[in-house]
């Protein structure tokens, strides 16, 4: 089973259980989804519930907001987060504000899924990671699944949430293989999770960088460095408690983020560590982020621009120079 299958099963099960759930977006129906996530769903549920939309990000996201207000549970798919900028007004000025601005009267139970991230040589208009940006906005929740369990479960939980939830699916994860899910269900969408225990240094990461971090940790273990890897899972709200507990345990921190460094989620996490756990630190917080360039097409340049196992290992060795 792949990550793609897990997300698809999440959608399918939700639609079987609840007639209010429907999927809409560009090419979700007849094409089968830009990343083939919704393949086969049109045949099962028909065009009334698997709705191909015209190319109008603002209108179909806005229509999702309206449908949510009208008692439906829409899943809106935006092909990639790059195109979500055409709907940013609807997401930020409407979905995120309505409940507060209406004094608690109009909540928006909307789920928006979009692909994010680079690594497939799609260049500067199809490869960016904007989840950290979206995490800036109060009123929405930002989820970044990195496992099959979360691919399925986060969608389920998002649909049970009364407020707008954005799910960022890293495009390089869709083909990721994993054990078939047994009795999958909702997962918590509030907590980070320690994916690997360690004692010398903590990596805080999410999405496609999780596997790179785990690979780096496995390599480093052979060299005698014990790395704890924390999967943030949820970028808004951030799970401060799990982050600070890990800092208190290892006293050294590396943040790995596929987004840009300046003003990004890595900066936010670092600031929170300063505010809440400064005296736990043995070393300054370190970051591995994407290079501050529009994502290039050429493979070697793209590879150089993204966090990689090698750059993570190098950063850890800087943090833990006295190992062995």
């Amino acid at each position: 089973m792949t990550f793609r299958d897990a997300v698809r099963e999440g959608i399918r099960d939700a639609m079987r259980k609840d007639a209010r759930v429907f999927l809409m977006g560009e090419d979700v129906g007849h094409y089968g989804g830009c990343f083939a996530v919704s393949k086969g769903l049109l045949a099962e549920f028909g065009p009334g519930r698997i709705r191909d939309t015209p190319l109008m990000e603002s209108a179909f996201v806005g229509a999702g907001i309206g449908a949510a207000l009208g008692g439906m549970k829409p899943i809106v798919e935006i092909m990639t987060c790059n195109f979500s900028l055409l709907a940013l007004d609807q997401i930020m000025n409407t979905a995120a504000t309505l409940l507060h601005m209406s004094g608690g009267q109009f909540n928006v139970p909307l789920v928006i899924r979009m692909a994010t991230g680079g690594g497939k040589q799609l260049a500067a208009q199809h490869s960016h990671s904007l989840e950290g940006w979206y995490a800036h906005i109060p009123g929405i929740k930002v989820l970044t699944p990195a496992t099959l369990e979360d691919g399925y479960g986060m969608l389920t939980s998002a649909l049970n949430d009364p407020d707008p939830v954005l799910i960022f699916e890293n495009q390089t994860l869709y083909n990721m293989e994993g054990e078939a899910l047994v009795n999958p269900g909702a997962v918590d969408i509030a907590k980070a999770r320690v994916r690997r225990e360690g004692k010398d240094v903590s990596i805080f990461t999410y999405g496609a960088s999780l596997n790179k971090s785990l690979d780096a940790a496995a390599t480093l273990e052979k060299e005698g460095i014990s790395v704890e890897v924390v999967d943030l899972r949820v970028l808004r709200p951030l799970d401060d408690a799990t982050i600070m507990a890990s800092v208190a345990k290892t006293h050294r921190v590396l943040i790995v983020d596929e987004g840009w460094r300046s003003g990004g989620i890595s900066a936010e996490i670092s600031a929170r560590i300063m505010e809440q756990a400064f005296y736990e630190l043995d070393k300054p917080v370190t970051r591995v982020c994407s290079a501050e360039v529009p994502m290039p097409y050429a493979k070697h340049l793209e590879t150089a621009a993204l966090p990689q196992v090698e750059s993570i290992i190098a950063a850890i060795k800087q943090l833990v120079p006295d190992h062995g």
Partner: protein
């Protein structure tokens, strides 16, 4: 100036005529009071007046059922009052009091009321159109025969959302009434300076959306056109109704009105929708001067009561600032 394209609507009976007059006068006097209160710094922020355009909201909303929804703009006092929201809750909102219809979080531009399905004043030009389409989609998917009316100015027609929403509503045959209040100016920019085709109703044809234009100063003409439009929408088909109107006041409280002449405004004021309606009703012996006086009296009391309610209101405790960023137990 809009041509008089009055459709010889049938005469209303006394009760209906009085009710319509009441709504228009309420909007007018309520907003005149708002201006006073703005000068007295009781109301702050952006405030956009509807004075001159009362016939539009009054005529359109008369044709709606209580569970039909409205999506409006920042110029929405009139629609809110016509939909039956209490003047007190609106005034308290403008005061920023917790008794306001949005707990004082929205102010003049963001009136909300779930009970009357008033889904907000949206202050992003064009921002409400997709939302209205979605409300209509939810009704269609759940087989409800409700209508969603989306009010917007002619300025919004230039935004992509107008075109996207018209297309989607037509493509999916959704029960939404696109209600364009063409008052000829978007802030200070005249329609002729922004649109290659200034005949807005014509734009419906591009999307196969049935459309019409009506003299927005003529209450009965608006009402009749709206009746037709709403009946059409109730059959699950979108409709575009352009109401040609004029705002007598500045765009907002910060506007020197450099872009139009005093003469133009004076000309339009000769077609004041309240006067036009009342004079016609009087000539037809449907309403009398005594009716007008009685309406004025009732309205004066309503407005006074609204102000008293707002004055007596309280401030939301600062400790509640972060409430409703996320839901407190609303079920999805």
């Amino acid at each position: 100036m809009a041509k008089n394209i009055r459709m010889n609507a049938p005469l209303p009976d006394h009760d209906r005529a009085r009710q319509l007059l009441h709504t228009m006068v309420l909007i007018r006097r309520f907003e005149e009071k708002c201006v006073e209160l703005y000068s007295a710094s009781k109301i702050r922020g952006f405030m956009h007046l509807y004075i001159g355009e009362e016939a539009v909201a009054t005529g359109v909303i008369e044709q709606l059922q209580p569970d039909d929804a409205i999506v409006a703009t920042y110029r929405e006092h009139g629609q809110a009052l016509a939909k039956g929201m209490s003047a007190g809750s609106i005034m308290a909102e403008m005061y920023g009091k917790v008794e306001g219809c949005a707990r004082g979080r929205g102010g003049s531009m963001h009136l909300f009321d779930a009970k009357t399905r008033f889904c907000g004043g949206n202050a992003i030009v064009g921002g409400g159109l997709p939302l209205a389409v979605g409300l209509a989609l939810a009704d269609k998917m759940q087989n409800r025969k409700r209508v969603t009316v989306c009010f917007f100015g002619e300025g919004a027609v230039a935004e992509g959302e107008f075109h996207e929403s018209m297309n989607l509503a037509a493509l999916w045959q959704l029960p939404v009434l696109f209600l364009c209040e063409n008052n000829l100016y978007a802030m200070g920019t005249a329609l002729r300076l922004t649109e290659s085709v200034t005949d807005i109703a014509k734009k419906g044809a591009a999307y196969n959306v049935e459309s019409a234009a009506v003299d927005g100063m003529d209450l009965l003409a608006v009402s009749e056109a709206a009746a037709k439009a709403v009946a059409h929408v109730r059959e699950c088909r979108p409709y575009l109704l352009e109401c040609r109107t004029y705002r007598f006041r500045a765009h907002s409280m910060f506007d020197a009105e450099l872009y139009r002449s005093k003469d133009e405004v004076t000309e339009w004021k000769k077609r004041d929708p309240i006067t036009l309606f009342f004079e016609a009703m009087k000539a037809a012996s449907v309403l009398s001067d005594a009716d007008f006086e009685a309406v004025e009296k009732e309205v004066a009391k309503e407005v006074d009561d609204a102000v008293a309610f707002a004055e007596a209101g309280t401030w939301e405790p600062v400790s509640d600032l972060t409430r409703f960023v996320y839901s407190e137990g609303q079920r999805p």
